[in-house]
Symmetry: C2
Subunit: 323 residues, 2 copies
């Protein structure tokens, strides 16, 4: 068991899986976090233009050659994160899991229990939670109550994940890889639980996961027909910019609208928050705090909503994914 005792030194973090999200978000966010430093990288294929730190072919090699490493950030595809996380925890390292944290809710629950047994920090890094307007949205929803919701999360997968095709394989989640960002906000800000009641998914020819989906939800207090309904609309083939919006109807009839993925908040049209994206720096500041206080932060429910939607969905065929 590795306890962070010397609270003055910078803690060393190794990144596992050096794809786009690691390069574009994790490296600069680590550099912006005074308490943390990037110490090593593990990636199965050689890298060009990587930061000036040791690069290993696997997590196992990194753990073996970097005995002082405090933590690892797992940025691989989610299908293999569970095994890597167990490996890192068993080697006494704290673990940050990129989203989605693992392949299934059951895997996350087991990792949480395992980290707890070992006295190590586990952090499910739902980055959208750290967008600027989330905290204020939560406060307003709690104070004024919610009677309905329209969630729209639409983008172009070619723009945001160029050349990536594992999204269309079983477990890849398709458009829900993006929608789960909305769900991470949703479960954090809603004053009561939200349940999937039905879903409709459009599955491209040859794919196993949806290009688009509509989902209907219930909450305990709207279950018997109260409120204006809770729905979401997801698409990964919207070519004209991004729509990352949640529009809540409050009990008093007002509309609270979270836009730009959580960076902008409006109440009945009045702008309350508008900020630049600072998600990953805030996320790593949180990880630093967790490491130094010996705590974990594990949230399973966003992935649970996705699994529940897949179980309850009707599926219709769609056109093949354009390459």
């Amino acid at each position: 068991m590795r306890q962070v005792r010397d609270t003055t030194r910078a803690l060393s973090v190794g990144i596992v899986g050096f794809g786009q999200i690691a390069r574009v978000q994790h490296v600069p966010a680590l550099a912006a976090t005074p308490g943390l430093r990037l110490a090593a990288i593990a990636n199965p294929v050689p890298l060009q233009g990587a930061p000036d730190v040791p690069v290993y072919a696997s997590l196992a090699e990194m753990l073996q050659h970097e005995p002082e490493l405090d933590a690892v950030a797992l940025c691989t595809p989610p299908q293999i994160r569970y095994g890597l996380a167990r490996q890192a925890l068993d080697a006494g390292r704290h673990v940050l899991l990129e989203k989605p944290p693992a392949a299934t809710p059951a895997e996350i629950a087991d990792l949480a229990a395992h980290a707890d047994r070992l006295g190590l920090t586990l952090f499910t890094a739902w980055h959208s939670l750290f967008s600027a307007a989330v905290d204020q949205a939560r406060e307003i929803l709690a104070a004024r109550g919610v009677s309905g919701m329209r969630l729209e999360w639409k983008e172009d997968h070619h723009k945001w994940h160029p050349g990536v095709d594992w999204f269309w394989q079983p477990g890849g989640m398709g458009a829900f890889d993006s929608a789960i960002n909305a769900y991470s906000i949703l479960v954090a800000v809603m004053p009561e639980p939200v349940f999937v009641r039905s879903a409709r998914m459009v599955i491209p020819d040859g794919a196993h996961t949806p290009m688009s989906a509509q989902v209907e939800y219930a909450t305990p207090s709207t279950l018997n027909g109260g409120g204006t309904g809770f729905t979401s609309d997801h698409a990964w083939d919207q070519l004209t910019g991004e729509t990352w919006t949640i529009d809540w109807t409050l009990r008093d009839g007002a509309h609270l609208v979270l836009e730009r993925g959580g960076a902008r908040l409006l109440l009945d049209g009045e702008l309350l928050v508008e900020a630049q994206d600072e998600e990953y720096p805030r996320l790593y500041a949180r990880f630093d705090t967790l490491l130094r206080s010996g705590r974990s932060d594990v949230e399973i429910r966003p992935l649970q909503l996705v699994a529940d939607a897949f179980m309850l969905a009707s599926r219709v065929p769609g056109a093949a994914v354009r390459s």
Copy 2:
């Protein structure tokens, strides 16, 4: 809040949803349980040949006219159980949920929290857990360890659910409505967690849920290739009798085989347990104990395995369901 204080009187139970499972299993099991008595029935359509108790058109009517009712057993299709359970709990009644307990794992978790807040008993009645050989299987697996598993759960849906078609609608689960019985045993007897890693489902033309499926699992200790593999094979179109078998490879190479859905247990071919079906009488004895001790018994993981399989599955088309 309704506390069971007088431990000598028989507690009254109302059955909601008076279909085959209620008639064939719940009514005789209640009659065989000295501490409980059937006090009322709620069913949306009139009944013929029902027991001589008041019959109401809805749970709401039953709750209104039976103020002394202690508990309700929800035997409706699972899609509507969550709302009915909230209604019964909010009216101060204890709740037994037939399997599967609700439409999604998230719904069960919320019901558990709600019953706990209200000080009421919630019982997820996984009947297969009460088959005769389950306890001994658990003891042997714990003592000798598990390195592999082949689970086969195959039957004819026409025989076991004649004329029922909601199984093929979204959320109906198809063959997993039966497989979940195996899962309820599995999570109870396995010495470590079992995770879905991949699944293949055959979806009949016009249906939304599988006629058959194969699933692969991992456990923490076999994740990196150890053991002989954990697999299951489910079918709802097996016309030649039932196969309800779990075959475990123990660490010492022996085979522990649970047959007949949990009523028969063999260790390397030697018969250890062979019993008649006593599932529902034992299940209601457990409910009686829970009610009189003010406790709940809630198990979510069987449905979680199903949801995870649906999320990770590849799907292939199959022939339409024979009517």
